[in-house]
Symmetry: C2
């Protein structure tokens, strides 16, 4: 039997890498969609390519600069919040929020999926990001999945769906799953700053290190040159 195709949204971060390996393990023939949208941490694009290679998946890089910025992740004149406590991180929506980012990514992925006859779009959104980012919440993903089901030919024919397998997990749970799946964590980067090494101060670095600590594993990306 021919394998079903899937589009996996891949960023170079940890969550999407785990999602990719999860989809491969589920038997999907995966194509990764990577966005070059003006993010500071552009190095993640190169890493995404390598991660996809390790999973045996193809990659499409899509240039999609958002000229209106509207986020400290896109605008170098805005400061990225650092040294925040978990309590602060979990409270409210930070300046790193990119308006409508996942909505755009999923929309483009759905178009790609339908055009090549893929039956699923995978996104690595998860529970722990959901306090900060409305576009990582379960209710939103369910609503958007419903919109795709209604607004595409493939969706109407029940041949295309949106999948978010990490939504119930926290970072430690995702890391544990990734270990089981053989995800090359040392190729993943989570830092928002786009420096040569992780800053260890931004929300994303803090949540990542907390995840590895809770999973009782050392982050292999910290040993990189």
């Amino acid at each position: 039997m021919k394998r079903q195709k899937a589009i996996v949204l891949l960023s170079g971060g940890l969550d999407s890498a785990v999602t990719l390996f999860y989809a491969v393990k589920k038997g999907y023939d995966c194509q990764c969609l990577v966005f070059d949208y003006g993010q500071r941490h552009k190095q993640e694009i190169k890493l995404a390519r390598r991660i996809a290679g390790r999973a045996g998946a193809k990659v499409v890089i899509m240039k999609l600069p958002l000229p209106w910025k509207g986020s400290s992740l896109l605008d170098k004149n805005k400061a990225i919040p650092v040294n925040r406590s978990i309590k602060e991180i979990k409270k409210g929506i930070p300046s790193t929020y990119v308006p409508g980012r996942n909505t755009i990514f999923i929309a483009v992925a759905a178009s790609f999926a339908e055009a090549i006859g893929a039956s699923a779009v995978f996104i690595g959104a998860h529970f722990e990001d959901s306090s900060g980012y409305p576009d990582c919440r379960r209710d939103y993903l369910q609503a958007f999945g419903n919109a795709i089901r209604l607004g595409t030919k493939a969706g109407r024919e029940k041949k295309l769906s949106l999948k978010f397998p990490l939504i119930g997990k926290d970072k430690a749970g995702i890391i544990k799953l990734g270990l089981e799946l053989g995800v090359p964590f040392k190729l993943t980067r989570s830092c928002y700053q786009g420096l040569r090494r992780p800053c260890m101060k931004c929300d994303s670095c803090i949540l990542r290190q907390r995840g590895f600590k809770r999973a009782r594993i050392k982050d292999p990306a910290l040993n990189m040159g």
Copy 2:
């Protein structure tokens, strides 16, 4: 009182032009978002600029080629259906359907809206296109509006919504509304073919002419040089 801002999806076609003039009439300070997505009928972009100018609205042109095509509207090697009866047009989804097009357009518009503090995204999807295009149906637009409400900061704060004021109308009804609003129909183009003059054979030309006939008006675009 400061006027509320809106993003209007503008294509150079008739429906989106009426939607723009409708939004202006409703008092919105409108910014038009026009996509250069690899469509055959690229001339519509230039016309969209002129239509926006007539409405006193600003324009952002966004390049967003869809490398996977998946539609006769994007792929010159595929034929655009011609000389079909209304019954044929209304039956099934034609090859001119672009996978996920409105989903991408609305997603990008929602990002833009949130970044500039606009309170509405307007799209000119309507009833008569809905038989052919799943992304012009009311149920889909309602579901996507719900996703935007849940997946953006502005939406969560009830400050951003998706509006589709033409959804209950057919072409003749839209034309009548456009006449009341002073829409410069002679600047609008509906033809899929991207020739110098409308082909008068594609589904879009046929529906447009039927609309003008039913509205008992001559299409002013046909007198253009």
